[in-house]
């Protein structure tokens, strides 16, 4: 089930909230578990079994680590092999077979495998749970149902953020919620939904229109890259906002997953702001265990390359994702050792150049064929092509307001303006009525776009 659907907004969510608050506190985790399993079953019926297996397997792995301290390393290794083995089978098996066939000229059979939605997310959550128990950072969940509630929790189940058990361990057993939290959660949900439906989807349609131009132009290639960059940002950050918002309604405090990444002043800064739960996962579970930056420059470079290779690969079983990861690895290394000081001194240049580098990265990200990646870059600087034409101008004018909204929303400026209004005496009074009504109006507008829109994908589902 996707958040931006009538089924979720008008049936699943209100019924879940109603049941959750009607039952006594001790049954609330069970309610969340039942609704979460149904949420997954609705979208990916037959793979519910994979999810249930992951819940039981990882819960008992954690328990066995505590029960058999002498064999805890062996249990951890076995657990990680099975967890990542499953992920490998569903996500990467055919990729490797295809490449082996291409490389060795063999004809190994390609299997008919459909990847269970969200497997990359719940595998990483489960692995962090078992590793943290191994390290003694967290206690195991009280029972398998509590652990299953954590792992399957529907707000973050299929597209993150990757919520570590340590973040919500206490709240799994004992949490409270109040009017302020429910209100703030619902507000965050509606704003996230708006980012997804009103900006990401429309800019996705813009990118599709530009993709289909009869005669592409230099401007159309740049606009396509821009539209796709905004689309993926608003799509994914909107989803994270919705997840965090729903979590808050039920009393969970998930960590923020995005912090205005498109205004970053360097690539290092960008990755502190983009998909924070993933980059911090890799930092804590891969980069630091490999030695981080403590073992000299050569090993630091090696570690950066390994982490970013895996980060790229995490996003998909395709060479463009590997290149995408390495692209960032190289930029991060160059920044760290060569031009960080220069960027620190020239802030405007730093912001603009970082934005352009991010734009380029998403060209690699969205284009599967290496040849097409090359052609896109070539055409962006191909001045033999016309700079623009009637078609490009028409579609630009068609989406210009959305583009402006996307630019305005990529920084904290609206939030600052809101705070300024909320801090003033009159503003505070006005907002008491205006804000709830504006949110309701936004919900109804979003509904109208969902009802009449065929273009409604969630980009991060495929990861």
């Amino acid at each position: 089930m996707v958040f931006s659907s009538i089924a979720f907004i008008y049936y699943f969510l209100p019924l879940c909230i109603l049941c959750y608050f009607l039952v006594p506190t001790r049954f609330r985790n069970k309610i969340l578990l039942i609704f979460s399993l149904f949420f997954y079953f609705y979208g990916e019926s037959k793979y519910i079994i994979v999810l249930i297996f992951s819940c039981i397997f990882n819960y008992y792995s954690g328990n066995f680590i505590l029960k058999y301290p002498r064999k805890k390393k062996l249990i951890l290794i076995a657990n990680l092999i099975i967890n990542f083995g499953c992920l490998f089978y569903f996500k990467y098996f055919n990729f490797f077979i295809t490449n082996i066939n291409n490389l060795l000229n063999t004809e190994l059979p390609i299997l008919q495998i459909i990847m269970p939605i969200g497997i990359s997310f719940f595998t990483f959550q489960a692995a962090s749970y078992v590793i943290d128990i191994y390290k003694g950072k967290v206690k195991p969940a009280k029972n398998v149902f509590d652990f299953a509630t954590y792992l399957t929790l529907f707000p973050q189940l299929i597209a993150g953020p990757i919520v570590r058990y340590e973040t919500v361990a206490e709240e799994m057993e004992n949490r409270t919620t109040n009017v302020q939290m429910i209100s703030a959660g619902l507000k965050k949900f509606i704003i996230g939904l708006g980012k997804k439906v009103l900006i990401a989807n429309l800019l996705g349609a813009f990118a599709t229109s530009l993709e289909a131009l009869t005669a592409p132009t230099v401007l159309s290639f740049w606009l396509k890259a821009l539209a796709y960059t905004f689309q993926i940002y608003y799509d994914f950050s909107g989803y994270s906002d919705m997840a965090i918002g729903i979590g808050l309604v039920f009393g969970f405090h998930f960590l923020e997953n995005f912090n205005y990444p498109l205004i970053a002043k360097s690539i290092t800064d960008f990755w502190r702001r983009w998909h924070i739960s993933l980059s911090s996962w890799f930092k804590d579970y891969v980069y630091i265990p490999l030695g981080g930056n403590r073992l000299g420059i050569k090993k630091q470079i090696r570690n950066i390359l390994i982490v970013w290779l895996i980060t790229g690969f995490w996003h998909g079983a395709s060479w463009n994702f590997v290149i995408w990861g390495l692209y960032f690895a190289i930029l991060l290394i160059l920044e760290k050792f060569i031009w960080q000081k220069f960027l620190d001194k020239h802030k405007v240049f730093a912001h603009i150049s970082t934005f352009i580098l991010i734009l380029f990265s998403f060209i690699i990200f969205q284009t599967e064929s290496l040849n097409d990646i090359f052609l896109t870059f070539q055409n962006m600087f191909n001045f033999d092509l016309p700079f623009t034409n009637v078609e490009t101008n028409f579609y630009l004018s068609n989406y210009v307001v959305i583009l402006i909204l996307a630019f305005v929303g990529m920084g904290p400026w609206l939030k600052k303006l809101y705070s300024k209004i909320a801090d003033s005496k009159i503003g505070k009074k006005v907002l008491v009525v205006v804000e709830p009504i504006a949110l309701m109006a936004l919900l109804l507008v979003i509904t109208s776009f969902i009802i009449d829109d065929s273009y409604n994908p969630f980009l991060y589902f495929r990861f």
Binding site: M1, S5, I6, A7, I9, Y10, Y11, L13, P14, L15, I17, L18, Y42, G43, E44, S45, K46, V179, Q180, I182, S183, A184, L186, K187, F189, I190, L202, A212, L213, T214, V390, E391, F394, Y395, S397, N398, Y399, V400, V401, I402, L431, V432, V433, E435, P436, I437, L439, M440, L443, L444, V445, T447, S448, F449, I450, I451, D452, D453
Partner: protein
Amino acid sequence: MKDKLTILCILGPMFLFCTLGILKPADELSKEERRKLEQMPEFSTASILDNTYFSKWNDYLTDQFPYRTEFRRLKGMISLNLFQKKEENNVIQVDDSLYELNTKIDQKSVDHFTELLQKTIETYNKSANIYYSIIPDKTYYLDDAIIPKLDYEKLVSQINEEFREYTYISLFEELTKESYYQTDIHWKQPELKEVLEKLKKEMGLSDTTYTWTKEEVSPFYGALKSRIPNNIDGEVITYYTNDIIEQASVYNYEKQWVEKVYQKENINNLDGYDVFLSGASPLLFIENKNATTDKELIVFRDSFASSLVPLLIPEYQKITLIDLRYISSDYLKKVLEIDWQNTTDILLLYSIPVINSSYALK
């Protein structure tokens, strides 16, 4: 206070529409969208396993959402007024008329179209006089400098190249943007005077002038009207008739009954253009009992022909209309009623939207 109001303003509509949605009986069709609405899916283990069951639930809940039509209008208003979009659902409004955007030639579709028609004619009758006309969509008549359009010249020259053995009758100059309904893709019959004259001249038909009676039926809401918010009123379908047309019989092969050329009551169908020759039909046989000629015509056609062909009835003893979107060209050999041998003229009459999206032609 603000928090409570926020909860009320967000959860209120959620619970309200949830309740209304559960209580509201399912609508069968949306007249505005001209389509059947999704009904509650039937449960089966297979549909669960292949994920279609819940996918249909999604469609069902969206299609049957309370005040769906009003929400669609709201979306259109926001898109056009707030977001300043020029198009909505691939439709634009210029002055008082709606136009569908179509900018790319689908080469495979054009090839499919020409190959299928050539093969069909080769199979059944290549001795008749074979004519073809391409009907431009009305976007052709818009300003090139502002609106992106198809490369019509290229498209026509490609078809001309493939159909070089047939006689081309160009209709581009005989039409203007006023020749089409404001809210629909189709042309208006009263605006086809020059088209008719050109066809008759090129096909060597008589130059007899007939007396016509004008009939009107309304309101007609075209296919484009529901795709973009607009203030265009319902239009009037005007058609010409006379004794010859009134006495002609139309045998509908699919329905196996005889019907009239014009059926006013069809204005209430999902597509009001069904007034002409009862709309989408695979195979129609029009018999002109008052014919003064033994000429027979076969028209391979799409829906544009429905309003034009009635005006050709006085010129033929029999007209056969074949719509390959609804009947396979291979199946035609089983239809004994088609008199291939005595057919004197064959006319291929297709509009550009169908040529450029011809995969339904079989």
